[in-house]
């Protein structure tokens, strides 16, 4: 029995089908045989639409070329919540599979009726619907008009696709790449709607700045329209150069009231620990008395930027009847729609948001905010679409950041290395302030309007969704009684929100660094030490696979160090082990990453590898280089020189090894490598230089400073 068959043996509907039971929301069939599949998940460069097309084609028994993945749409498509947390394949996979199998069954039923045979005499192969003896054949296209898909999905569809999965499990090439490689229009910035105008926002010079006055006559010579509402200031016009000129003019003509209220960037742990906090108890077990040896260490990371390659962009058009059309690269178009309606007091049904791709965002960047900017500017020109393009500086300084974090870990250990207690405290801002979080609209420009929205501090997803601050804060290892607590900062001027893997990146960095410290304390090999306290069989297999593939234990040159990082994402999803190899010469150089992962059934092996490689490379960039910079008033890292990321000359070689589990459910791979990569690099640096650096990023300067202080 294959995994595909098992999922339909359970007569209960996947969550997203319960919420969106009408088949036609998911699948449409055209006369020419094209099968449109519309999901609520969006393409962020992670290849999700290709993976879902593979699942759809298998469930319908059609070739991949017959399936067309349609853009997510708030009116026409299903609401599947956010595209985040590596949940797309988990949420949408089973729904698409079942919806498509329903469609297949309806078409078989229609063919059988027409031919006056029993449905079980009809099969589908390669898109051809036929009787078992192949005397009669038809197609999806030919029957399209006779089959209505405006019917509810059924949990029970006649089982058995002959031959089981065919495309699932194979490395199908990404469907969207040919257009992108040819330079064809593919992104939101490439939209050119009839009558489209250019919009720009004159953002305040610093967070919380108030617009005291602006001489709007300064732009009188230019053919642009200035829009002001409170401290929100923007320009609309037909010519981009003219609009840019107006923005520069207004910037000079505006008088802002600013204050120094940002924390000291050199003491972020102190800032995060000061509070006030919400306490998040994760595990509270009693610590035994009489420990032999107690070890303790503190770690930190700075604020990180999403730093998408494309600054955010939004397009909006107010229709003359007061309804509103919006195009956005948001990860949650339904929540964006609701937030816009809430702020502007519109009926939700009068707002339509259609997804349009942009560059990878890796979490909650400026997408929703740029869409709302466009809505505000377009209000001045009813009937005309307005496209708002953020600048590089806007994206690096105004999009939400991944929060800075600090942690202290303490463990009691005996001479054999056994851990008798483990205490872990982590301090952080919240990890989500997406539109709709905590019931607030949370759109950047909303805080600047004359009737300003209150923007509460970021919250954390519930622990049932993996938590935020405390994501992956519980070690996978046997460490005795544990006391694990999160502390979420409740007041802060710095906007934080979801960045790929949320708190997991930092928590795994801390745990994995400390595991190496414990191993060193008792003189054990880090791999053996971990395996000695890891009962989980899937975990052991992944760790051992990475170790073997990397040549763990082979001798290395004196200035080269190897380090391990390992975790199971969200404690319940992908297992990932990373072995890093670092060379400490004139500078710290990451030479190689060896990755092993278990993501359950692999839908697209090459796509999965690509996600793991990309995630690990990005995590290496965070670990080695990245840090949002600011003074007491303004964010100062506003371009690629002040916010450097890993370059071609700095990327490591990467090897990926998948442990396939064809009979276990698929889970996402996009975030699994983040924490393990950080842990592995930290441990490799410590192995190479003999000194441990616990504050990220591990720049050459930071490592040299640590060696000198040692």
């Amino acid at each position: 029995m294959t995994a595909t068959d098992r999922s339909t043996a359970t007569p209960s509907l996947p969550r997203d089908l319960v919420a969106n039971p009408t088949l036609s929301r998911w699948v449409t069939v055209d006369d020419d045989g094209t099968i449109g599949v519309r999901v609520g998940k969006v393409e962020l460069g992670q290849g999700i639409l290709t993976a879902l097309a593979q699942i759809a084609a298998d469930a319908l028994d059609v070739p991949l070329s017959q399936v067309r993945m349609l853009r997510a749409h708030t009116t026409d498509g299903p609401d599947e919540g956010m595209t985040s947390g590596s949940m797309s394949i988990v949420d949408a996979g089973p729904s698409v599979r079942l919806a498509c199998r329903n469609v297949r069954a309806l078409f078989i039923g229609e063919a059988a009726r027409g031919w006056d045979v029993e449905a079980d005499q009809v099969t589908v192969e390669g898109g051809s619907i036929r009787t078992a003896d192949a005397n009669r054949t038809t197609t999806y296209g030919e029957l399209a008009r006779r089959v209505s898909l405006d019917v509810p999905v059924s949990a029970e569809v006649p089982a058995k696709i002959p031959g089981g999965p065919r495309l699932v499990g194979t490395s199908v090439a990404r469907l969207d790449l040919p257009d992108k490689v040819a330079g064809r229009p593919a992104y939101i910035g490439d939209l050119s709607l009839p009558g489209q105008l250019v919009g720009r926002v004159v953002r305040p010079p610093s967070v919380g700045a108030r617009l005291v006055a602006v001489d709007e006559t300064a732009t009188a010579q230019l053919s642009v329209q200035v829009v002001r509402d409170g401290s929100f200031l923007g320009v609309v016009g037909a010519d981009e150069a003219e609009v840019e000129r107006a923005v520069r003019t207004l910037r000079r003509a505006a008088d802002w009231d600013e204050a120094d209220h940002l924390p000291d960037e050199d003491d972020l742990p102190g800032y995060l620990r000061a509070g006030p906090h919400e306490t998040i108890p994760v595990v509270a077990e009693d610590r035994p008395q009489g420990a032999t040896r107690r070890l303790r260490a503190s770690f930190s990371r700075p604020y990180l930027a999403h730093a998408s390659m494309a600054p955010s962009c939004g397009v909006a058009r107010w229709e003359t009847d007061g309804s509103l059309a919006v195009w956005s690269h948001s990860q949650g178009i339904h929540r964006l729609r609701d937030a816009i309606a809430q702020v502007l007091d519109l009926d939700v049904s009068s707002v339509v948001v259609e997804h349009a791709e942009n560059a990878g965002c890796y979490g909650h960047n400026g997408a929703d905010d740029a869409a709302f900017d466009a809505v505000l500017l377009a209000r001045a020109v009813p009937g005309r679409p307005v496209a708002v393009q953020w600048s590089r500086a806007d994206e690096l300084t105004w999009a939400p950041f991944g929060s800075a974090m600090a942690a202290t870990v303490e463990a009691d250990v005996d001479d054999t290395g056994q851990v008798h207690s483990w205490t872990y405290d982590v301090w952080s801002q919240g990890h989500t302030s997406r539109p709709g979080s905590a019931g607030a609209a949370l759109l950047l420009a909303g805080a600047q309007l004359s009737t300003p929205l209150t923007i509460p501090a970021a919250v954390d997803p519930p622990s049932s969704k993996g938590g935020g601050t405390t994501r992956n804060s519980v070690p996978i290892y046997q460490v005795g009684p544990r006391r694990i607590t999160g502390h979420r900062l409740l007041e802060t001027p710095i906007r934080s929100s979801a960045l790929r893997s949320l708190g997991s990146f930092f928590n795994v960095f801390c745990i994995e660094s400390f595991m190496d410290e414990l191993a060193a304390e008792v003189g054990q090999d880090p791999l053996e030490y971990r395996l000695g306290r890891l009962g989980d069989e899937r975990g052991r297999a992944v760790l051992e696979r990475a170790a073997t593939a990397s040549g763990w234990g082979d001798s290395t040159p004196e200035d080269v160090g190897r380090g391990i990082g390992f975790a199971r994402y969200k404690d319940s999803e992908a297992y990932c082990a990373v072995i890093a190899e670092v060379e400490a010469g004139q500078e710290i150089r990451l030479r190689r990453l060896t990755i092993a992962a278990d993501v359950g059934q692999v839908v697209n092996p090459d796509g999965t590898c690509n996600q793991l490689e990309g995630g690990a490379t990005q995590a290496a960039s965070w670990t080695l280089k990245e840090r949002v910079r600011f003074d007491r008033r303004r964010v100062t890292s506003d371009d690629w020189e002040s916010y450097p990321i890993l370059r071609f000359s700095e990327v490591p070689e990467i090897g990926v090894h998948l442990v396939d589990r064809p009979d276990l459910p698929s889970v996402g791979a996009g975030e699994a490598a983040q924490g393990p990569t950080a842990g592995a690099i930290g441990n490799a640096v410590a192995a190479a230089v003999g000194v441990r650096v616990r504050d990220l990023p591990l720049t050459t300067e930071a490592v040299v400073a640590a060696i000198e202080a040692d």
């Binding site: 992108k180 330079g183 494309a310 990878g360 890796y362 990321i645």
Partner: protein, 154 residues
């Protein structure tokens, strides 16, 4: 404010009305409807907007129109055609060396220029050539091997 400019774009002579200070990138994208060069920073720091100008790779986001007058510009659209992709484009597809793909036009333009001068580059030469191109998705390793393979094939 605007002025007439004549230049060659992907082998065709074009005339455009533009502000002399307008970046070449805007003219390509908005007036000539060539969306292949992407806007990434407008600062000459990321490579998303790379084009070849008289055979040299430049960032079109900070190349003003007055400097583009009379030149020959090649964008990613001009490197290959439907059914006859440039070897670098083909290799990027073969290796699936992209995720969001936003950086990839600039990468292709730069790598194609490399193959003009160094037809079979090794990995180090590819890395050197692409060091001004940023990729946030972390696909650099795949891109490097794709370009090396494209070179080996030509």
């Amino acid at each position: 404010m605007t002025q007439q400019f004549t230049l060659t774009v992907n082998g065709e002579t074009v005339q455009v009305e533009a502000d002399p200070d307008a970046p070449l990138l805007s003219v390509l994208r908005d007036d000539l409807d060539l969306k292949g060069a992407r806007f990434g920073c407008g600062l000459g720091q990321c490579g998303a907007c790379f084009v070849q100008l008289d055979g040299k790779v430049v960032s079109s986001c900070d190349t003003p129109m007055w400097a583009a007058e009379g030149t020959s510009v090649v964008t990613v659209e001009g490197l290959g055609s439907e059914g006859a992709l440039h070897p670098v484009q083909q290799a990027i597809l073969d290796e699936q060396a992209a995720q969001c793909g936003y950086c990839i036009s600039g990468v292709i333009v730069r790598a194609a220029a490399l193959l003009e001068t160094t037809p079979s580059p090794d990995a180090d030469e590819v890395v050197d050539a692409l060091d001004r191109n940023l990729c946030r998705c972390g696909v650099q390793r795949r891109i490097i091997s794709a370009v090396v393979k494209a070179g080996a094939r030509t």
